[in-house]
């Protein structure tokens, strides 16, 4: 291979299936970063090329395609994965071949692999701030509704532990629906919510069923002012797929919202609009995919290779001026130091930011030092 040959990376983003909506957003974040990198001369003069494959939201396809990208296409680094199930499916493949997987999505924590960088939020950066905000604003009696797989189970367990630290904390319901559930199934759960009257609803519903929950909630005439939905994953992209105004008044905890006023975000939003149209939203997955591609390019620039043994030391501890702020890859656990924020959706499908951390909060994927009102997060938080 000559030094002018393109550098190929794998990009596994589903264009079909239950999580395609979000994975297409990840794809846009990755592609925008790749185009920026190539415009400034690529990786030391070499073009950065994404080999995009469609895993169709199926974990087994993620595994097969990751294996093929490595074995047949000679790829050293793969970007992709939305559900924990898809990440878990790829884990043995990248470990077996000793390649790098960059997983650009917040998840429930409790994992570490030498071959993975976890570039979304850890539970202490979204679950803890959300529990904190919702309990002090609305109360500690929660109704939990989620999709039927590991992310909602573990998020709900974490939420329950945080809630039960309150004297009046209670879990009034815990319901799960499949990733391909129908709107009618959400209507039935919302009827139960209406009957039980929690202080707030905690949603870990995922993918294309997210709009069903918010629409069923609105159709039942429930009021977000008194009993809002709080989520860690409902983003601008899911809201864009809902009927207009459906999510208004509901909350999401995330390190990034499209409405952020940072100069980095404003600049990248201009390029995003020019490339994908003014109507196409950005979101937390988009941003994680975007800054992680840049962090990979910077590390490659520093060492001249994407071979994991040489590249990894240049990724670990690296910082990047991301749209959300200056982020850092924590060397000890491969997760990100990020800025927890609480956003409330408005009628335009954007989030008004009500609380944000003024410093990057280190990731704690094993939730080893978390209590409700975690002091690191609390001291660093600023209310609006």
């Amino acid at each position: 291979m000559t030094s002018s040959a393109p550098v190929k990376v794998g990009l596994l983003c589903s264009t079909t299936g239950p999580t395609a909506l979000l994975e297409q957003s990840q794809w846009r974040g990755s592609m925008l970063a790749i185009e920026e990198i190539n415009e400034r001369g690529g990786l030391g003069g070499r073009e950065l090329v994404a080999l995009h494959r469609d895993p169709a939201s199926e974990p087994l396809r993620f595994r097969e395609l990751a294996e093929r990208l490595i074995v047949e296409d000679g790829v050293n680094v793969i970007f992709g994965g939305y559900t924990s199930t898809s990440r878990k499916a790829m884990l043995p493949v990248v470990e077996k071949h000793n390649r790098l997987l960059i997983y650009s999505q917040q998840y429930e924590g409790f994992e570490f692999s030498d071959n993975i960088i976890y570039s979304g939020a850890s539970p202490n950066q979204n679950g803890v701030p959300l529990a904190d905000f919702m309990t002090e604003t609305y109360g500690a009696r929660v109704y939990m509704v989620g999709s039927r797989y590991v992310y909602p189970y573990e998020c709900n367990r974490t939420m329950q532990e945080l809630i039960l630290q309150h004297p009046d904390g209670a879990v009034l319901g815990e319901r799960y629906l499949p990733l391909d559930a129908k709107p009618g199934q959400f209507a039935e759960i919302v009827a139960d919510i209406r009957k039980k009257r929690p202080d707030f609803v905690f949603s870990t519903v995922i993918g294309h069923t997210v709009p069903y929950l918010y629409e069923a909630y609105a159709q039942a005439g429930l009021d977000p002012c008194t009993m809002p939905i709080g989520s860690l994953n409902t983003s601008e992209t899911e809201i864009h797929a809902m009927a207009h105004g459906m999510a208004a008044g509901h909350y999401t905890a995330a390190p990034y919202f499209q409405s952020l006023h940072t100069p980095e975000n404003q600049a990248v939003l201009r390029r995003h609009r020019a490339r994908f149209g003014a109507e196409t939203p950005t979101d937390m997955n988009w941003e994680a995919a975007y800054y992680q591609m840049h962090m990979f390019a910077n590390a490659f620039g520093a060492c001249g290779t994407d071979e994991i043994g040489t590249l990894m030391p240049h990724m670990l501890g690296a910082q990047f001026a991301a749209p959300q702020g200056l982020v850092r890859i924590e060397p000890g656990n491969h997760h990100m130091a990020l800025y927890p924020r609480i956003g409330r959706a408005n009628a335009d499908g954007q989030f008004d930011i009500l609380r944000e951390s003024t410093v990057a909060v280190p990731p704690d994927p094993y939730m080893s030092r978390q209590t409700l009102g975690d002091w690191v997060t609390k001291l660093a938080a600023r209310d609006y």
Binding site: S84, T85, K88, L91, P92, E108, G109, F110, E111, R148, Y149, V150, Y153, E154, R157, Y176
Partner: protein, 211 residues
């Protein structure tokens, strides 16, 4: 009954491997299931793969593996917790949700997917060894409870004799012992008879009509 100390000169692991244990593996028929079954067979175990899990274990089973698939929020396996067979849980995600679930099912060891050959034998041996220790501890507790109860009964019987015959404790015990020997029954049986008789005499002494 004393807990028998394992013979230090003999390998516990070796003796378990030599027995060719019958292992029931509740695991879906996928890559991990195949890796698990193959490696167990490699180590000389007799493996029976079953999925979905059944309500009852095949007879003769000595060790159970049970996969906790992520889509099963709360598996209905309460019967396993009441089962004395050692259980190894197979989990996909090493997080509190699934670890807690495995513990609730009474798992003596936990392994995680992707299944690797390394670590499997250790998990099997630890599970079997813990199960054996638990069994021995349970037997010892049962035996101690029996002894404790016997001592209580003996004290009660002695007290009755001491009151009825105006004798000391040593003499009361000698009376019980000689009765037991003469009738060829246990000291415990004699004590129960004395307590029953004492109860009867007390009731006869009470005015009628009372309960």
């Amino acid at each position: 009954m004393a807990i028998r100390e394992p013979d230090e000169r003999r390998s516990l692991t070796g003796s378990i491997l030599k027995r060719g244990l019958r292992v029931v593996v509740f695991h879906p028929d996928d890559d991990d299931g195949a890796t698990l079954a193959n490696h167990l067979k490699r180590m000389g175990f007799h493996v029976e793969m079953i999925w979905p899990p059944r309500d009852a274990l095949p007879s003769g089973a000595e060790l159970v593996f049970r996969a906790l698939p992520p889509e099963e929020r709360v598996p209905d396996d309460s019967w396993l917790a009441n089962n004395s067979l050692p259980l190894v849980a197979v989990i996909g995600y090493e997080n509190p949700t699934f670890i807690d679930q495995a513990l609730r099912m009474g798992a003596a060891a936990i392994i995680t997917t992707p299944i690797r050959a390394s670590g499997l034998l250790s998990a099997v041996i630890v599970a079997l060894s813990h199960a054996r220790q638990l069994r021995q501890v349970a037997q010892r507790i049962a035996s101690l409870e029996r002894k404790l109860n016997d001592a209580k009964v003996l004290n009660e019987a002695k007290t009755i004799l001491m009151h009825a015959h105006g004798v000391g404790e040593g003499e009361a015990y000698a009376m019980i012992r000689s009765q037991a020997m003469a009738r060829r029954v246990s000291v415990d049986d004699i004590c129960h008879s004395i307590i029953q008789a004492g109860e009867l005499l007390r009731r006869i002494g009470q005015p009628p009509g009372g309960t």
